[in-house]
């Protein structure tokens, strides 16, 4: 049987992959995918804690409800974020972050 540490390390590696996407990639849409990857890593550790921290013999369902809420908030966030990317593309004709330097000092 896998231990809790196995799941937590898998979740941490997935988070690192998402962080790597955000830090290293230059396309705004791929950066957004990296954000999704990081949210899912957090979900995995929540579900692992729910399975390993039993409450009177059952899984801790509060954690799973939190995952449910995170997924629904993430869905709303993706819809709004992609709409922002589309209107950004209309205004600037680019999705490359290095071309968007208006706020740069």
């Amino acid at each position: 049987m896998p231990t809790l540490a196995n799941y937590l390390i898998a979740s941490g590696l997935l988070f690192a992959a998402g962080l790597g996407v955000v830090m290293l990639r230059r396309s705004i849409i791929v950066i957004f995918m990296g954000l999704e990857l990081m949210l899912n890593a957090a979900n995995l550790s929540l579900v692992a804690f729910s399975r390993y921290g039993l409450v009177s013999g059952h899984q801790n369902y509060n954690a799973q409800i939190l995952v449910f809420f995170i997924i629904s908030v993430a869905a709303a966030e993706v819809a709004v974020g992609l709409a922002i990317i589309v209107s950004l593309y209309r205004a600037r004709q680019t999705t490359h972050v290095e071309d968007l330097d208006t706020l740069k000092f």
Partner: protein, 167 residues
């Protein structure tokens, strides 16, 4: 059996997650992200969270990634042009990720509280969906309603944002 499933799906999930970093074409990034999410759903099933696994496939691998692919198609994104890599930024990114990984593994491996094996679930199992529904509508009915309002406002916001002219 469970251990083999864990290693198989965790390895596959991390490989697809890594290919999101490495592949240049946004469509291949999105497809490997879909595969990564499906493997993650399988990991949820190995953790006896079948409802969350199903939601993961439906919402993430289904709806969210279709939205991503649709936007990639709409913007007609080509392969990222290989520009000169900003050396400092790349080095900084790799350093931050490496520091995060080393600290995380050290914390998880040094604490014996995380080395516990899977506890066995007690007694006759009530179905996962039933328990989630009971918890959701007993203890979390107010956040559930707020999520409804949030989804509505997100929908309205998307419609406003994607109008041709913003006033």
């Amino acid at each position: 059996m469970l251990l083999a499933a864990f290693w198989f799906f965790a390895t596959l999930m991390l490989l697809f997650g890594l290919s999101v970093v490495l592949l240049r074409n946004p469509v291949s990034c999105a497809m490997s992200l879909v595969m990564s999410f499906i493997c993650l759903a399988a990991l949820y099933v190995t953790l006896d969270a079948t409802f969350i696994g199903v939601i993961q496939v439906l919402v993430y691998a289904g709806a969210v990634m279709v939205l991503f692919l649709f936007i990639i198609m709409l913007l007609d994104l080509r392969e990222e042009k290989s520009r000169r890599l900003n050396f400092g930024a790349t080095l900084g990114g790799v350093l931050v990720v490496a520091a995060f990984l080393s600290i995380m593994t050290q914390v998880i491996l040094s604490n014996p509280a995380f080395a516990i094996p899977t506890p066995t679930l007690a007694g006759p199992q009530i179905s996962d969906v039933k328990m989630i529904g009971m918890t959701l509508f007993h203890s979390f009915w107010l956040p559930f309603e707020v999520i409804g309002v949030l989804l509505l406002s997100a929908t309205v916001g998307v419609v406003v944002l994607s109008r041709r002219t913003l006033r």
